[in-house]
Amino acid sequence: MSALIRIQDLTKQFPMGGRRFTALDGISLEFERGEFSGLVGPSGSGKTTLLNIIGALDNPTRGSAIVLDRDTKTLRHREAARLRNHNLGFIFQTFNLLSVYTVFENVEFPLLLLKMEKSGRRKAVMDALEWVGLTDKVDMRPARLSGGECQRVAVARAMVKNPKIVLADEPTANLDAENSHNILKMMIGLNREFRTTFIFATHDEKVIGYLKRIISLNDGQVVRDEEP
């Protein structure tokens, strides 16, 4: 059986004032189902760029990223959207909740895109909010939630459709220690229960402490890949 995600000799360059800046430089990696792994490295090492490529939000310059047996480079807009919609959950550093919608509606949104019918939606949303312990804040708008609560909503939103892969870019950067630990423990639980693959991009020691696989990037190259 082939890996869930296979990155082969991947290079990403950005145009920069006439020349090209190489953000990722010949990266090869594989991720299996159920991994709880993280891209670690200093600022500018290419973590976000790699996550974006895995998430089919950006295309590699050379090499390929094969996600769930699909080469992201050959996907058209609509197919990439479909891939994200069905299989990928995103969690951001800034929680990026939709401010005009309630907690419930924010979590419901990915299911609307999946065209799930109403009763199924309601159950899935409530289940997801139960995992993150926010069933009492269902009708609140994000502006009235704390940072930790917002990120829990974001986790629920990423998890509600039970995706195969969750990509989390610095999810704890805006949280205090206690909330960071809570979120991470929750994610570990979800990882165990659903065998969801988590890939983090982080330089937060707290996060690194939870990782089962640490991939160190520097200057766009993998310098270490270890399981502590």
């Binding site: 976000t48 760029t49 807009h77 959207a81 800034t94 419901e108 609307l112």
Partner: protein, 424 residues
């Protein structure tokens, strides 16, 4: 999903309220402006038809060439026969003969000496017949200010303004000095029995209204008339129909060899009026175009600012698996909703205002004292069925075009770039 979008639209005021207000304002102005221009031109055409051109007008070929001078030496003769004929050919039209004439009005004092004198613009019409159509065409009863309608030969009406200026007393004799059809000098005594006011400076300045039989006697124009005016019975002008009517008349009666043969022209064939009529037809389109353009730019900018504000939202929606095309489409759906709501609101207020302007009008009398145009000093709007829909053109178009432009700005960026901007 639509419900989801609408919720967002309703809760986020900067996404809904501002654009809706903007669209409403533009639509409002479009509707009011359109109705007002429509009313203004309608009034002009109406006034011109009633007092000058009719819906169609028959004159002699020679008279037509110098029509502005009302040259009565070139008037139509054998008018009774011509009227009888034309009334049988076109029984549904109202036909009425008129003579326009100039002269000097002399107001004597108690001793018969001249007390005041002034040049007149005389209009001779069928004034004495009980069922004269002119009563309705010139709205004589409404326009009467003092005195009464003439009942006997040689009783006349004078414009209130003119009468006051000359100090003409009611029920006293005045003398008209004028020229006959054949060019000799003539004097005729009339009794002023009433005054009229039409609210049109060009008309009210020096008008006297005389019965056509009296004028024929005074001006030696037996069985003659300068002009024969034809009207549709409801007095609503129908250009196409009138043009066809005059063509068929001219084929039958007009002869290039005979300069005294009658020739008919439709109202719109009068240069200025034709142009004005045409301009209003184009005018509606121009108003729409101007507002679509101006509002599109404003809404485009609003959309851009809104789009930038919504980068985060758009980025998240893309990450959740919505395709760019779907996000774009949903923005356009929003724009259509805003366009429709704004148009409805703007149209409602616009129509209400236009109706108000239709009944009350705006008074420009003071600015038009010197005007030579046959135009009422109080200009009113006119609400037509098209007034109800015209606003939707700029309303919808501007909103959608604005969003299209704004959307392009957002979507030319790389998806990942949206996230960059979303992270800061």
């Amino acid at each position: 999903m639509i419900r989801f979008l609408l919720i967002g639209l309703l809760r986020d005021r900067s996404r809904s309220l501002f654009p809706v207000l903007m669209v409403s304002a533009g639509v409002f102005l479009t509707v009011v402006l359109y109705a007002y221009i429509k009313g203004m031109v309608g009034d002009m055409v109406d006034a011109s038809a009633r007092f000058d051109t009719g819906h169609v007008k028959i004159v002699s070929r020679a008279y037509h060439l110098r029509e502005s001078q009302a040259p009565n030496d070139l008037a139509l003769l054998g008018v009774d026969d011509l009227l009888a004929t034309i009334r049988t050919i076109h029984p549904r039209m109202v036909w009425t003969p008129r003579i326009r004439f100039g002269g000097l009005l002399d107001v004597p004092d108690a001793n018969g000496e001249t007390r005041a004198q002034g040049p007149v613009a005389g209009l001779a019409i069928d004034l004495l017949n009980k069922d004269t159509p002119e009563r309705n065409i010139l709205k004589l009863d409404e326009s009467l200010v003092r005195g009464r309608m003439p009942e006997q030969p040689d009783e006349i009406l004078i414009s209130e303004t003119f009468g006051r200026k000359l100090g003409v007393p009611l029920d006293k004799n005045v003398t008209l000095m004028s020229a006959t059809m054949y060019g000799s000098m003539t004097l005729h005594n009339f009794t002023v029995v009433g005054t009229v006011h039409f609210g049109m400076a060009a008309l009210d300045r020096q008008l006297i209204l005389v019965d056509i039989n009296d004028a024929q006697r005074a001006l030696d124009m037996t069985d003659g008339a300068g002009e024969i005016l034809g009207f549709k019975p409801e007095l609503d002008y129908a250009d196409q129909e009138m043009r066809i009517l005059s063509q068929s008349f001219n084929r039958r009666f007009n002869s290039a060899e005979d300069e005294f043969s009658p020739i008919m022209h439709a109202l719109s064939e009068k240069d200025l009026l034709g142009e004005i009529l045409e301009m209003t037809n184009i005018g509606g389109g121009i108003i729409i175009a101007v507002f679509v353009f101006a509002m599109s730019i404003v809404l485009w900018n609003a959309g851009l600012m809104n789009g930038i504000r919504r980068y985060g939202e758009i980025g998240v929606r893309l990450a959740m698996g919505e395709s760019k095309g779907d996000v774009y489409r949903s923005m356009i759906v929003e724009a259509v909703c805003i366009g429709i709501i704004g148009s409805v609101v703007g149209t409602i207020f616009g129509i209400l205002t236009a109706y108000w302007l239709q009944y009350h009008g705006l008074d420009f009398t003071d600015f038009m004292r010197q005007s030579t145009m046959l135009m009422s000093g109080v200009i009113r709007a006119k609400v037509t069925p098209f007034s109800y829909v015209i606003g939707f053109f700029p309303g919808l178009l501007a909103s959608v075009i604005g969003t299209l432009f704004a959307g392009i700005g957002v979507f030319q960026r790389q998806t990942a770039q949206l996230f960059k901007e979303l992270e800061v």
